[in-house]
Each structure stands twice: as C-alpha cells, then as structure tokens.
Symmetry: C2
Subunit: 233 residues, 2 copies
Amino acid sequence: MEPISKPARGTAKAEETRSRILAAALNLFRERGFDQTTMRDIATAAGVAIGAAYYYFESKEALVMAFYQEANIAFHEGIEAALERKTDLRARLRAVIDVKFEYFGPNRKFLGALLRHAADPDHPLSPFSAETREIRELDMRHFSQALDSSNLRLPEDLRPYLPKLLWLYQMSLILFWIYDRSEGQARTERLLEKSLAIVVNLLKLSKSPFLRPVRRTAIELLQAVSEETPSLA
Amino acid sequence: MEPISKPARGTAKAEETRSRILAAALNLFRERGFDQTTMRDIATAAGVAIGAAYYYFESKEALVMAFYQEANIAFHEGIEAALERKTDLRARLRAVIDVKFEYFGPNRKFLGALLRHAADPDHPLSPFSAETREIRELDMRHFSQALDSSNLRLPEDLRPYLPKLLWLYQMSLILFWIYDRSEGQARTERLLEKSLAIVVNLLKLSKSPFLRPVRRTAIELLQAVSEETPSLA
DNA sequence: TTCTGTTCTTGAACACGTTCAAAAACAGGA
DNA sequence: TCCTGTTTTTGAACGTGTTCAAGAACAGAA
C-alpha cells in the first residue's frame, strides 16, 4: 500500500513536476492559509492543469500530509543527534518534542487541515489510519529511543505501552499548539513544561507500592483498548 | 448571540417548518450517514426548497449541532433524576455519562460530523467555541453536581478545575465511542470502566502527601492553560 | 525510424454546499 | 378591504474539490 502520495514511480521529470506542485501548494498555504487557497490557484502557480495535481496527490489535504510525511523523515536525524547528548529522561523527551515544533513552526497554521479528519481512523489522512502507519511508527520509535538508555528505570509491565502513550501525549500537544493563538504560542510552552514534569513524575512514582493499584488498572485499560485496535497495535 | 440555529423567533408555522427540516435531516443522517445525505435530499424530504434549510440552519453541520443542543436539554432531567439516587462518586459520574450515551446511541455515526471542526475553537461548531458556550456550561454543571454531595472529600484547590477536566474527559470518551467499531462499542465500555476507576482513584490519592508534588504541578498547569482561554474560562 | 504500450497532462464536466435577489405569504393597522 | 412592512419561501447561480475521457509525450522494441 503506497502511503498517501500516489506515484513515487517517477521518471526524473515526473518527480520534478510533483515537487513543483507540492512546493507551490505549501507556499500558498503559508501565505493565505489552507482554506483560502484553491486547487486552481495551486495548479496555476505550479504551471500545470488541475488534473495534474490530482495525478500526484489524492486530495487537497494530501498535500499537507505530504509535507507532514517529508517533515517526519527530515526530523529523524535531528532527533537522533539531540538524543545522543542527553541522559535525563525529561530532557530526552523534551528534545524529541522540541525538534518537531521547531520544524513545524512556520507551517503551524495549515497543519490544522490535517487534524480535520484526525478523529476518524477510517479516513486515509487520520494519524490513526492504516495509510499513515509508517509515519506513526517512525514517530513512536523516537519515543522508544528516548526511553531506552535514559537514567530512569521504568516498570517493566508498563514499558511496552509507553511509546504509544507518549506519542498520544505528543499529538495532543501538537493539537493544542496548532490552535494556540497566544503570542509565540507561549501557552503551549507552559503546558509542555508542566505536563512533562507530571508525566516524568508519574513514571517515577508509578513503581511505588502506593500507586500500585492505579498502575494495575492502567495496564488493564491499555490492554483492553489496544487489543483489536489495528491502528495502535 | 443566538446560538447555532438561526431564528427561534418563529410563528407556529415557521417552527413547524424548522422542525420538519431537522427531522428529515436526522432521519436521512441515520439511514445513510451524514456524508451520503445532500442538502437537496433533506430539502426534498422535508418538502421545501434548498434555501429554506439555510434559512433555519447555518449549515449542514449545524443540523447535527441542533440535534446535539436539543439532546443536551433533554438530558438534563434524566441526569438530575439519576443523581438523586446515588452517593458514591464513581456511581454518580458513571450515571452522568451513561445517560448521554444512551441518548446518543442511535445517532452515534453522524455525531462524528460534529467533531470535524472540534479542534478549531474559532469554528462556530467546535465544542470549544463561543457559540457553543451555553451547551458546554450546562454540560459542565452536570459534573459539578455529581461532585457536590458525593461521599468523597476532594482537595479544595483542585475542586474549581474538576468540572472542566471531567468534561474534557467525557469529550474524549465520546470521541472514542463515535469511532469505536467493536460490537456494541464494547471497547468503549471497557475504557470507561477502567478509566473511571483511575480517575476516582487518583482523586482519592491526590490528597496524600505522596502525590503532593504532582498535584501542585497539575494545578500550576491548569492555571497556566486556562488563563486567557475564554472558551474554557 | 516506426510502432506500441505506458506514463503524464489536459481541461471540460460534475456534485454538492452555500448564497442571494426576487417573489409569495402573512400580520396587523387604517 | 386595502396598504405596508416583515417573515418566509423559492430556485437559479456560484465556487470549489474532484473525476474522467481524451490526447500528448515518452520509452523502448523491432
């Protein structure tokens, strides 16, 4: 199953056309926003007919997904590099998230288009869909790495679920950030700071017998929910 | 600001037309789903011209919101009644949520249309928008009631934030439920069961000195996020 | 070079949500 | 009853995302 963008099978020239369309689209999205840009605008800016845009991209929103996909690949190295320099779990998690926000920064506004169908796992562009699995898994792996070889010993039974949980946590942060209209998205920064403290703190405390019953229930919950959830499996 | 549905200012006949349109729409939504139903279908089924539908409702999705709004008012009594019979906090929270799910039941599939713009607080149909404030506040009040006069003593400093938090928790449950394709939404049931246990457990434990630092940070977080958030204020 | 199948490109046409100017229906005062 | 302003209803027209049949460009075999 080819993910999102239709034919990678390009000759050099086709590949050139494809990226010209994508570039034109992203420029227009950044300038005027997603809704204010029409497919006709994009085609004109790229110097092709409307049909060409649909030959390379399933839909208007698929253009945004193509950006997201390429971004995720571009992240990869930056994240690996950032992780090498840190041992503290909190710092490691923060590093993963920071790299992304930095990269997403200038495209914040039109990324909202991606979240339109976010909730529907049947929609090809949902972050939970089968079509976006590769992206999602790459993304989770970053958290997995952040967890490994950190200074914090984690409870064994919780460990397998943590990458998914942290990924989910990250998605909510991104969601909040996209619609954060405060100056420089200051509120997201505060949310990140405090919530990360809580996450790490709970992870630390979760080993204690005091929180044992909560941890138990949490694991039961995770089992119950993730079984038969192909997208999160 | 009139919320959602345009003119309630109706003569009896106008009101009749409005409800005929809404009824036709909801029937079609239930039968074929939201996307498969066109505004033309709705108008035809209601025996009016397309324009009439737009005279009474801002948009296609506003029809779903009108259902949601009416549902919320209809809940009210049922919830009050259910709360009178229970003292255990867990049972009380459960009661509030159960009443809603029962009422939403047959309309589960098309309710997804409401969540399309859920993330964008600027969109009039977002559950976070100014336009939906009344509905949201009514909804939060149910949780407030469930908290009051329950058998569990809650930490004072956390109390003001709890209705919002529980409302948010409920929204995620509804989101999960809408897209839960398991038989009879069994997975949502399990998620509800376990997560509610955790919620109540954490509330209980939150008073203990052991979780003091976490509670502190949590409150800081809530303050930081809710300031300047008109929709959640 | 010519032929043939594949890849790429085109733009008219379609579907559907939405708008709006015009008309019909109505209310109530003279 | 007639007149006047308001509410309600109409449906043609518009904008935009998307489809698709037809053709152009191209690659490689003969």
